[in-house]
């Protein structure tokens, strides 16, 4: 039954790739770039992963996966544990409810949708952090991070779209 096992293994590897790819995005966002000032505005790469895969392949993007991705992002970035987890879970819930709106529309609509969702996520994380530290955080970095995320989305969406069409069928 050799081909059967291999085939199943292959299918399995393909099916976990959305979550795997998002984890790679998290790692990419924490690796030191040594570009002055870049760390404060590094785009929310994992958020793009969560958004994209929730819209296009929610069947391969389980709820527990989202939770794990959030915890990993918090642990590695040094943010208070749970902040990004809540944000990603919220995004997942909202996007899953609205995904029919995005399917089959032009890329521009998808991008616009991401911008709105990312703005909401930025606002939410700012509120959560301010509550956590009981200190009104400077809104500047969160705003710039949102702008960077919005700007970087088309590139990443293209990569993930290619991945999706070539590997996931």
């Amino acid at each position: 039954m050799r081909p059967g096992v291999l085939h199943r293994l292959d299918l399995w590897a393909r099916n976990i790739s959305p979550v795997g790819l998002t984890i790679v995005l998290i790692l990419m966002s924490v690796v030191p770039t040594h570009i002055p000032g870049f760390a404060s505005v590094v785009p929310q790469l994992a958020l793009m992963g969560v958004f994209h895969w929730t819209v296009f392949r929610p069947d391969l993007f389980p709820l527990l996966g989202v939770f794990a991705i959030g915890i990993l992002q918090d642990a590695l970035s040094g943010a208070p544990m749970g902040v990004n987890t809540i944000v990603y879970l919220t995004v997942y819930g909202v996007v899953l409810g609205q995904r029919r709106f995005f399917l089959g529309k032009s890329f521009f609509v998808e991008w616009l949708g991401f911008c709105i969702i990312a703005a909401g996520a930025a606002l939410q994380s700012w509120l959560l952090l301010s509550a956590y530290y009981t200190h009104v955080m400077a809104p500047g970095p969160v705003l710039f991070q949102f702008l960077m995320s919005a700007g970087a989305y088309p590139v990443l969406a293209w990569v993930m779209g290619r991945w999706q069409t070539s590997l996931l069928r």
Binding site: G37, G78, A79, P80, M81, G82, I86, L89, Y132
Partner: protein, 326 residues
């Protein structure tokens, strides 16, 4: 996926849907619970974070090194373009440093003689642990970095982290082979410092922005831009005299410090093991103090304190005396 007819909702589907809803709400609540536990400084949350960091540290280390190599090539290319200017600047600095070297030699010798005269005991010798930085500072959410050295190498909570230029931060969270460095710019960072010239002690408080503030200076201290700030060695974790930064801005309310280090450009740091328990071990702090006396600077209580003054324990927020006021 099994073939689905659109609109055909069986009872199983409905139950699945409800379970999904339930799981979703449950996980959000779980995330909130994690956040609350973290806020209450529960050990288990930090333990989980440490474990996760440890698991991913080798991967990050693997990626960080080529990234650093690429960057060093870029830097080399850039420096070729400015080689003449750089040369001029360096020879100028060299000239100045040579003068200082002479001064330092003289002072060192004088110091040695005076120490011998006084039978002065030098503080404990520091041990250094070098480590590579494997993650960028958290940016928006916190100012901290991961380093590739942990409990195995002898890194402990509370130890100072320095580079050639000065103080970077302290260790906050140690895993087996990785540790988190809380930068001096982080909102939670409080470092006992002093102004080098006047020896006035204060606390360096981070704000999640580039420039931390100098707080809790004794009243009447005159601070002006350009003053050097160094660690004071109080609290038992840090050696005295690690350079921290320059005073860059002073007004009625705030004193801003520009740190000497640029956390973005760091690649390798040194963890200073001073052989002391450090600032985070509360037991060692409380046993140092006599039990019955409140923790006030002795010079204030001794001389001109009256009964009236002793009643005021906690100043209302915003009414503390500012350092610039007489």
């Amino acid at each position: 996926m099994a073939s689905q007819r659109p609109g055909a909702q069986t009872r199983v589907d409905l139950i699945k849907h409800l379970l999904q809803r339930f799981a979703y709400v449950g996980l959000i609540l779980a995330a909130f619970a994690v956040m609350m536990l973290g806020k209450a400084e529960t050990v288990i949350v930090e333990e989980v974070r440490a474990r996760i960091n440890d698991a991913f540290a080798p991967i990050l280390e693997l990626v960080a090194e080529p990234a650093a190599t690429v960057r060093s090539y870029l830097d080399e290319g850039r420096s070729f373009l400015a080689v003449h200017q750089e040369n001029m600047r360096l020879s100028e600095i060299n000239e100045r440093l040579l003068k200082w070297q002479t001064v330092a030699r003289q002072v060192e010798e004088e110091n040695r003689i005076l120490r011998d005269l006084l039978n002065f005991q030098v503080g404990p010798q520091a041990r250094y642990i070098s480590a590579r930085i494997i993650s960028d500072d958290g940016g928006t959410f916190s100012e901290s970095m991961l380093i590739y050295a942990g409990a195995k190498e002898g890194v402990k909570n509370g130890q100072a982290v320095v580079s050639g230029e000065g103080l970077i931060g302290r260790i906050a969270g140690v895993a087996n082979r990785s540790a988190r460095v809380l930068l001096i710019t982080d909102l939670n960072s409080r470092i006992p410092v002093m102004i080098e010239q006047s020896r006035a002690r204060g606390i360096l408080a981070g704000r999640n922005e580039n420039k931390p503030n100098l707080e809790k200076l004794p009243p009447g201290v005159i601070v002006s831009p350009g003053d050097r700030v160094v660690t004071s060695g109080h609290g038992g974790a840090f050696p005295q005299g690690i350079p921290v930064g320059l005073v860059s801005f002073v007004d009625e309310a705030v004193i801003e410090i520009t740190p000497f280090i640029d956390s973005q450009r760091l690649e390798v740091v040194r963890v200073v093991d001073y052989g002391l328990d450090g600032i985070l071990d509360r037991r060692s702090l409380t046993t140092d103090l006599p039990d019955e006396k409140p923790v006030f600077p002795p010079n204030k209580t001794a001389e001109d304190q009256t009964v009236r003054e002793m009643k005021t324990v906690i100043p209302k927020p915003g009414t503390e005396r500012r350092p610039s006021e007489p």
